[in-house]
Each structure stands twice: as C-alpha cells, then as structure tokens.
Amino acid sequence: MSARSDRSPSERVVVSGMGWVTPLGHDLETVWSALMRGASGMAPITRFDARTFPTSFAAEVKNFDVNPLLKNPALHASAGINSQFALGAAAQAWRQAGLDVKPARNMRRVGMYLGAGEGVIDTPNYLAANLKAWDAQTGKTDGAKWAEIGLRILNAAGEIEQEPNMPLAHIAREFGARGPAYNCLTACAASTQAIGEAASILRLGEADVMIAGGAHTMIHVLGVTGFNRLTALSTSKDDPSKASRPFDLTRGGFVMGEGAGMVILETLEHARARGVKPLAELIGFGSSADSYRITDIEPTGRGAAAAMLQALSQAGIDPRARGADGRPLVDYISAHGTGTKENDSIETLAVKRVFGDLARDVPMSSVKSMLGHLIAAAGAVEFITCVMAIHRGMLPPTINYSNPDPECDLDYVANTPRAARVRTCLSNSFGFGGQNDTVCVTAFDE
C-alpha cells in the first residue's frame, strides 16, 4: 500500500453517499438527531413471543417500508427483511451520491462489498418440520418424514432468500451494479471489514465505485436463543432503554439491534469526474485475527490493537503524536463497545496499547448504547456515525453511563453529546471468533 501522501486521485477513496435503516429511524437526519438526544431504540420484542425468554427486549426497526425508496418494487417482492434493510440503506446512499443524475462511468466498474448476515429462518415452519419428523422410538429425526413435511410447508422463495448473498443480488438488480461482488460474514465485524476491503478494491484499480456496508437481523427465536445460551445478551429486568450500558461497571451484555448501513465509496478521480463533492475520505483499514479462542477475546487486546495500528499506519498517523494544537491526531473513536464485561475492558486496554498516554485524550463512545448491536450491520452504521460526527462537529454519547469501572477509565462521552472539532475518526468492530477490523476516516481535504 502506498503511503497516504503518495496516493494519486485514483488511489484515494472517498465517501460520496450514505444511508441507514436503524431502530431509531430510516434516514440520516432522523437517526442523527435521535443520537444527539441520547434516545434509545430498545423495547419489548414484537417479532415473536419472547416474554418467557431470558431476554425479551431488543432494538427493532419500526415502521419501515422499503417500497417508496425503490424504482422497481416488484423485482423485490420476495425480499427477506435483511434484503429490505439493505435495499433501503443502499437507495439512500445511491441518491446522496447523485448516482442517478451523475451516473458512474461504467457499471462494470461499480462493485459491491457487503457484510450482510444470513436471512431470517422461517421459525414456525422449520421448527414444526423438525418436531413433527421426530421419531420417538429411534430417538432421531425420520429423514423421509422430514422431507415430506419440509417440502410441503416451507416456502421456496423464503428459503432461498436466507442465503447471505441475497442482499447482494437485490442491490445488483436495483442499481445495475456489475463489478466485483463480495459478501463477507465475520460476525459482528462484517460490515467494517466490507468497507475496508471495498476501499482496497478501489485502490487496486479493480473498480471505480463500491456499494459497501451491511445488513442483518438476528431478532428471531434461534438468534436470541443462541446469544442467550452464550450469555452474551443483557437479561436486565428493568427498563429496556437502560439495558445497553457500554463501559459502565454494571454492564451485563449487549442488546440486539437490527438494520443496515450502506455507503458509496469511490475513487477521488471518479468522484471528480462525476462532479460530486466527497463527504469524507477513507484513509486506513486494518484487519487481524486473535487466533486465541472461539469464545473469548485475547485478554491483552493484541488483536484489536493490531487492527487499529494497521489502520493508522495505512493512514500515516502516529497515535503517540500530538498535532500543532496539542491534541491527539485522532479526534474520536467509535468503539465496538458492546456492553459485555469482556469486550469493553479489553477494547479499553487495546486503545491504551495503541495511544499510550494519549488514550485518555481521545474521546470514544458506543452508539450501541442507543441503537443496540446490529451484528453484521453494526460496523457500517458506526462508520456513518463517524462521518456525521466529522460534518456536524458533534460526538454521539454513550448513554446509560453512571458507574465508572476502574478497568474502563477512558473518556466515553458519557450521556450527553459533545461539541468538538472532529477531523479524523477510527471505527472499531470485533467479532466472535476473534475478527478485528478498524477503519480510519477523515474530513475530505482537496
């Protein structure tokens, strides 16, 4: 990778459009103003009867209809909820980037790199097939009976729609993208990794424009079951809006969210040729694996620090240096900040590993306190939050922060948003299985 200062306009990657569908709204302004109010998207789960579950609340997307955003709703009639979220976010980003009125040079050079999750399983029918095909005598599933029932009660289009590459297919169809197409699924790190790799594809000259981001929901019976069994979710019995408590001493797990975040990335050269003003520039990306344990995070923060350091090195930023104004060169970190005991203390440790004595001077907050954890889509939504922070000169807060934890002793922008000069941000995402990804984004400067 060429050093940042040597990059030509064809190697510089800019953000030209953004869109999101979140538990706090479905357009840039609504969600941003909710984040600035410190609002919470959490409420009792409505998608299934979760009243007896250890966790019965989540941050669901409410009242979202993708059709008004689409040119050809009929082509997406079978779209699952994941694909609907993805299409909604992508349509906003496409429009903001002006790609309808100032089209891309060549649709074969418009690619996609998503970190979209698998679709929602048809729980009632899938579980009914499993239960009704159970043979009590053998203590096993009767395969022939399962096939007979499954073929009868499961829905063909609905099953195909669960493949994790379906949001790609829908977005390709809606916008005509014919360039390189990838979907990655690295758990909670997926869409940060997607944005980082999309930038790499642009830098290597394999595309002019990339639609990048993620979409996901795991708010369904087996999703909540899986995370409850891992004891990763908050099981708070209090007000759901207080359940997501990143970095607070009393934090007890994450709260599930759902939705999508999508951005249009393109080379500066292509953005200039289209006559579009960039919103921000993506200047660094780092990715690493903990190679430690399938459940636990490497306890010294080695992997997380490696991802941040790689992103900073690509960006040409020394995390131990101060600028002319005496402040660190990174103005804000969008934390992975899930609100689990382990994540928040190790992420804090990793930030100290990277920034040393300056760590306390770098504000870091977790919007998961308000939006919940959008799993594969979380990173893209948080990346957009960084770009908004740069534009508005405001840092979103970590809400529900009231009891300091001695292991989490950085500046978490507690409870209220803060006005700040924001030029350069890091956005962190860490996934189950030890995937660590960080992107570095900065204010665009000709």
Binding site: M1, F48, A50, R51, T52, P54, L75, E118, L127, A128, A129, L131, K132, W134, K140, T141, D142, G143, A144, K145, W146, A147, G150, L151, E159, I160, E161, Q162, E163, P164, N165, L168, A169, A172, R173, A177, R178, P180, A181, Y182, N183, L185, T186, Q193, S200, L204, E206, V221, T225, G226, N228, R229, S287, S288, A289, D290, I294, G303, Q310, G433
Partner: protein
C-alpha cells in the same frame, strides 16, 4: 495500475473431498475416472428428489486425528463444514511444508503469525436437526408445532451453551486461525459456490497490498443435510436420483440433456504466498496465481437462480482476470468451469467462454469435476483451483465422465480418460447461485 504487482504463487494444496483428505486420493480418483458419488447414508434421503451425493465417509475423516491433541475438545463444536475446512487446512499446511502452531506446538513457525492471513468461503450452515428437535420435545403446542413460551422458560437450556458457535459461517476460519496461529487479515466470504474463488482473490489482494506474506485460502461446505438438500431442491438445481438409481450418470456437465446436479461434501485450502516469500523458503511451487477478477451477473429472477443472461458478465470477469495477469486468451490451455449440469448455468458459461475464446474454444479441454466430487457449495471453486494447480504441476488432465454431445454447447467436455497435456495456464471460473462470478488464472511457474 502500472506499478509492478507482487507475484503470488501456490505453495500448498489441501483438498478435502469424497475421495478423502489431501491431493493424493483426489488426484488418483480423478485420473482413474472414479466417482465419489454414492447413496447418502447419514440420514434417510428417500423423501428427497436426489438420494445420492459425493459424501465424505466416516472412515475418510476422523476430525480428532487431524487437529492437535490439545484442540480435540473443540471438535465438539464443529459442524460438518468446519471439519472440512479444518481437515483441508491441515493438508494444505503439510503440503506446503509449513511449520505452524498446529503442526508443532512450541516450535518457531516458518512464517511469523502476524504475516499469515486466512480467507475461507463458507455456506449457510444448518443446525443439526436431531440436536434441535430433541432439545424441543417438551416445547410442543397442541398441534405438535413449536411453543416459544416453554422454550424460553426451560427448553433452550437443553442446548449446549456454545450451540450458536457451531453454525456461524466464520467459524471455519476461526478454528483454522486458532489452530495454525494465523494473526493476519482473516475473512469469511459467503457468495454461494463462488465463495472459495473469491476467498483466493481476497488473499491475492491482501498479499499484494503487503498486509500478509502468505494466506490459507479456499472454502468448504456440505449441503448434504435436510436444509441443504431442500434449498437446492427449491432452487431447481438437483438432478432426480431415486433410491437405487445411478447417481453418477445423473450429472452431465455441458451435456445438452443435463437435468441438474449432484451435491458433494468438500472444499480445499490453498497456501497462497508471495513469490518472494516462497523463494526465500526455497519451496516447491505448484503454480503461479497470475490473475483474478470478479463480477456480478445479471439475474433474471433477481435472486440468481436463473442465470440465462449472465454470459456477458461471466466473460467480463474472465477478460479482467486475463488483463490482471497481463495475459492473452491464447495462453490458456485448459479451463475448469463451474460445470454443474444445471443447464441454464452451463449454457451461460459456455456462451461466456465463446465470447472470450472465440473459435478456439472447442479445442480447449474443459475439466469437469461434478460427476466425480459433486458440487461442494462454497468449497467448489476452491477445489477447482486446487485441481488446476495439480494439473499444471503434473502436466496432466484428469478423466471426464458421463457427458456427451457437449459440442452442441460449443465446448470440449465429453467423457474421456485422463491424458498428459502441455499445460501452460489454466482458467478457473465460478458462477454461483446469487450471481457472483469469479475467474482465476493459474500459470506454470517460470
């Protein structure tokens, strides 16, 4: 674009197929004209339209024997797909002569862990029906269907706490990175049958940009499960094979009378490495990874089951891969297409090859693997790349089974025995369900 790119080579091949672990049994099977397609015995398949698959037999894969002793406990949380990737990775590392934490704990690794990446394509891993149903037996409603109330109260506790981690797609790469201590960039691509090829492409990009010196790259999957079979049935991809019928004859790639495909279990991990790194180690090089490109196909039905119009998009990926390799189409001596026996995809591939190779196409032998090892989902295109490397290494083409009349599609794919050949370069193409297409060019090392 004009900067010299870092050269990348394949220094190890680790296939896992219905012929067993490693290249030796696979190559012997392919050259002798054998087939691993056999009746499914893991469950009673008689209710499905296809009752055969190229399965991996229990005696071919004892997962506990391919992981280090101290990792045996973790095999309990490995779904079949994870076992395939872990076995393939062990074979690949051995093939490349690499010392890793997985081959010799406590011995210095051949390549520094933070310089080793890992990119593994994965599919949608279904939950084990027996495990799920037996956990839910006391959670049935009056109709025998699922009762979420009792499940939330008591039932879910019947599942092992790590249940979810058996089924996350990124667990293939997660286990492999832990076993072999790969701390560099790691990703999981989920784009149907193109996942393996895209993973190899991503490794090439990561090595070229200097973020790793070597990667474990490939994919693995088994769709030989209730949900795997039913989704492929719903997508009209399977050939009908009743109990007792000839499963091998049922799959006929590029035969105008083809009626569908047969699934396989398997995948492959390749060791992709910077040429400079391989040279300094002084190791055998199977082939050079000369070029790669990807594209998104036009999908008639949005979701990418009907790819009848995809030829120009597949051709674009091939042409871009040739350009990436700075090679001419005339330098390609053999082609491994997706070649499934799914007629609309075979026809689109044949048409795409015609667009690229013109009148020379009927003189270029196609290598069709489906009648021997089935279509192995996310593992397919990685297996194809492993076989391509071996063809170059051995200067030999494996046998082809079953097909006749492929001249009608303008290609050379009819049944014939294995033969020696002068092979300078092999093109591997993949077009998966969902419409993601990829092309890889492997070249004889100079």
């Amino acid at each position: 674009m004009s900067k010299p790119m870092r050269r990348i080579v394949i220094t190890g091949v680790g296939p896992m197929s219905g012929f067993g672990i490693g290249m030796d049994p696979l190559w012997a099977g392919l050259c002798s004209g054998a087939s691993a397609i056999r009746p499914i015995t893991a469950f009673d398949p008689s209710g499905f339209m296809t009752t055969v698959a190229a399965t991996i037999l229990p005696e071919q894969l004892d997962i506990r024997s391919v992981v280090p002793k101290n990792y045996r406990k973790a095999t309990k949380v490995m779904a079949r797909d994870i076992e395939i990737a872990v076995a393939a990775a062990a074979a690949a590392v051995t093939s490349a002569g690499l010392t890793t934490r997985g081959t010799a704990e406590g011995v210095a690794p051949t390549i520094a862990p933070e310089r080793v990446g890992c990119h593994i394509g994965a599919g949608l891993i279904p939950a084990d029906s027996d495990e799920l149903a037996s956990a839910m037996l006391n959670c049935r409603d009056a109709d025998g269907g699922f009762d979420p109330g009792e499940w939330g109260r008591t039932g879910m506790n019947n599942l092992t706490p790590l249940w979810l981690l058996k089924y996350l797609p990124n667990m293939l790469a997660c286990h492999v990175t832990i076993i072999h201590d790969c701390q560099g960039p790691s990703n999981t691509l989920t784009c149907g049958e193109s996942s393996g090829a895209l993973s190899i492409g991503e490794s090439m990009r990561v090595i070229r940009r200097g973020d790793a010196d070597a990667c474990l790259s490939g994919g693995g999957e088994s769709k030989v499960s209730y949900m795997g079979l039913i989704r492929q049935t719903f997508a009209n991809r399977l050939a009908a094979v009743a109990v007792g019928a000839d499963g091998i004859a049922a799959v006929r790639p590029f035969d105008p009378r083809a009626t569908g495909t047969v699934l396989g279990e398997g995948g492959a991990i390749l060791i992709t490495e910077g040429f400079d790194s391989a040279q300094s180690r002084g190791v055998k090089v199977f082939a050079e990874l000369a070029g790669f490109a990807a594209s998104q196909c036009s999908c008639i039905d949005t979701v990418g089951v009907d790819l009848s119009d995809a030829a120009p998009d597949i051709a674009a990926a091939i042409e871009n891969a040739l350009e990436n390799a700075k090679m001419n189409a005339s330098e390609i001596d053999a082609i491994i297409p997706f070649g499934s026996g799914i007629l609309n995809v075979d026809a689109a591939e044949a048409k795409a090859l015609r667009l690229v190779f013109g009148d020379r196409l009927p003189k270029i032998p196609l290598i069709t693997l489906a009648p021997q090892i089935g279509i192995c989902g996310a593992g397919s295109s990685a297996l194809a790349a492993a076989v391509a490397a071996q063809c170059i290494h051995e200067q030999k083409l494996p046998a082809r089974l079953t097909t006749s009349g492929s001249a009608a599609l303008g290609v050379d794919a009819d049944a014939r025995p294995s033969c020696s050949a002068n092979i300078r370069s092999v093109l591997v193409t993949s077009t998966g369900m969902g419409g993601q297409s990829a092309a890889i060019i492997l070249r004889r090392p100079a």
